[in-house]
Symmetry: C2
Subunit: 366 residues, 2 copies
Amino acid sequence: MNFSFSVLFDETFNLFFMRSSCMSRSRVTIKDVAKLAEVSIATVSNVINGTGRVSLDTQRKVEQAIGELDFAPSASARNLKDKKSSLIAVIVPLLEKGRLQDNPFYWHLVRGIEESARDEKLHVILVGIGPDESFSFIREQHLDGLIFVGAFEDTEVVESVLRLNVPCVFMDSLIDNSDFYQVSLDDELGGYIGTKHLLSLGHERIVLLTGLLKKDGVNYCRWQGYRRALEEAGVPYRPELVYEEPTSSLGGYRAASRIGAKGGGVTAVFALSDMVAIGLIKGLHDLGIQVPRDMSIVGFDDDERARYCIPALTTVRQDIVQKGRTAVRLLTAQIERDHSVERQVTLGVELVPRQSTAPLAARVKD
Amino acid sequence: MNFSFSVLFDETFNLFFMRSSCMSRSRVTIKDVAKLAEVSIATVSNVINGTGRVSLDTQRKVEQAIGELDFAPSASARNLKDKKSSLIAVIVPLLEKGRLQDNPFYWHLVRGIEESARDEKLHVILVGIGPDESFSFIREQHLDGLIFVGAFEDTEVVESVLRLNVPCVFMDSLIDNSDFYQVSLDDELGGYIGTKHLLSLGHERIVLLTGLLKKDGVNYCRWQGYRRALEEAGVPYRPELVYEEPTSSLGGYRAASRIGAKGGGVTAVFALSDMVAIGLIKGLHDLGIQVPRDMSIVGFDDDERARYCIPALTTVRQDIVQKGRTAVRLLTAQIERDHSVERQVTLGVELVPRQSTAPLAARVKD
DNA sequence: CTGAAAGCGCTTACAG
DNA sequence: CTGAAAGCGCTTACAG
């Protein structure tokens, strides 16, 4: 009897021991620190936050106790009082398959955001959302702010986000409301300079290879720039030269045959994403159409791959990392109610001429 | 007097009003729901969590109240009790500049992780860490788990993470300890099949273009596969053909002149990243060296760009999104103490022959 | 300069 | 089946 009891006891003990050594997380609390430093928890709190008045002596005692116990204050407890979490979310649209977009564009965006957020002691949570997503997590987690990429004003999702009344920055969203914080690109200018570059090389039949052309969207603005450039040059706008295709390399690849078809007289293409341009070049290549001899191509973004593509891609450059950093700047201003910061930032674009564009004359000579 | 008092009062009122309408977030609590549904907060809690016994009638009342008030339970309050946060972190090494690595590889990883995490009702927080980073946030935020990418066993950071005793999955880390949860690739096999492919085409002087060759690291294993293939084929291993270069397109580009130099007799290159391979092809192209006529190239990863590269890149394929999904699977198993799940998963690789490799004979004929 | 105490919004035994 | 109450770990007036 005694023996079996002892065994039972030992098992219980072991179980307890294992649980306490494996499961326990963050056991040391402000109370432990207070005890060790022989002060009240209020004082510990004051030392941690630099609030109130604390004598240098107690401060040192407390700091040593914190160090000794390796104390890390619980964010949950803190948030419960403050209603803030030091968490921001980047909300990115999902592909149909329920996965984040595969354009590495987003990665560079996130890189910029993460870097700036880190500087601000904020953490970045990455959220993909589908069309019928619930946003309850934003309130549940007490998110301090949101960066919303590629949203449209009239959408259900935007409506529900706005109702939450949480600091929010829209990116590449072109919502026509100057009350909202937005960072975007001078897309119209991008469309303009890319087109103008081709026009200046003598091209007139220029295909615009775009993604979804939604009113006031990014592509829509670029399309407007395209039209403006044509108009300025006195070249008639032909709607049949605007191809709406999926924004993917495959989309570009598939567009190649349509573009390269004889009789169309197309001599240049402006693809509104490097991703698409690269697929297009490959598609043309497989059809025996050489770039830039037979066809000039301009991309958009200036991915790293634009530079290493063969031929190197002429493109409209945007600084995506900078875009992410700007979004965080606007967001923190909004969180801290710093009204001196502008609400709308439009970043610049720049033409980067490389090898995928050539004068039309060169073709004639051949 | 009365007048000025009234003005003051109005101002105060306005301020109050503005604050309450702009700042207030998530005001409705479980108490409000309880009041509306005419039950206790315990009952509301039980309904929300499906715990305890609740009559169908009260359940409906509570659910309606929740809907009416659009109630979202506070994660902080919940976490404070549960010591869990439904948050996991993906920890990615930083570049020297304090920014996340630019390899889009990470994006695909994150895509896989985010998708799976969403299925598990977990949120993903993305963290870049430098060499002397503090990990206090892991305890502060009560993170439920960690996915650690590209760590090395002996590192300070790994040590401190392990001390935290938080569920953790190491990825591409090759820590030699079977107690740890790890997902990795069959890197040795990858190195082997890539090399073997080139050998089978008749190449013998094969440059291995690798990133940092750290003991037991990813590249190290691939290098071992390279050696095994050579040995099997009876081709002597030449250390001078192993080039350690930065894992970037620029690294590949710069390596081109060294590789293409006359006299070396190099006829093929195995680059351990598509990123590097693409830079290399461009570099060779700029030197007038044609791929695959003059030089065969094999990459690693099978990025999207491998397919659209000119010539399309022969490469060793890995499913990066799947890798991310696997990591989440191991992590949730660990969080839920489901010991039926394996601790180590090694994912497969596959050779994807495309156009950047050709028989050596073809060259001789030229 | 320091501390006792209330309260943030939940969950969880424990009574009834 | 339902509720009163304690407690999670902090912060913040408020006394002293």
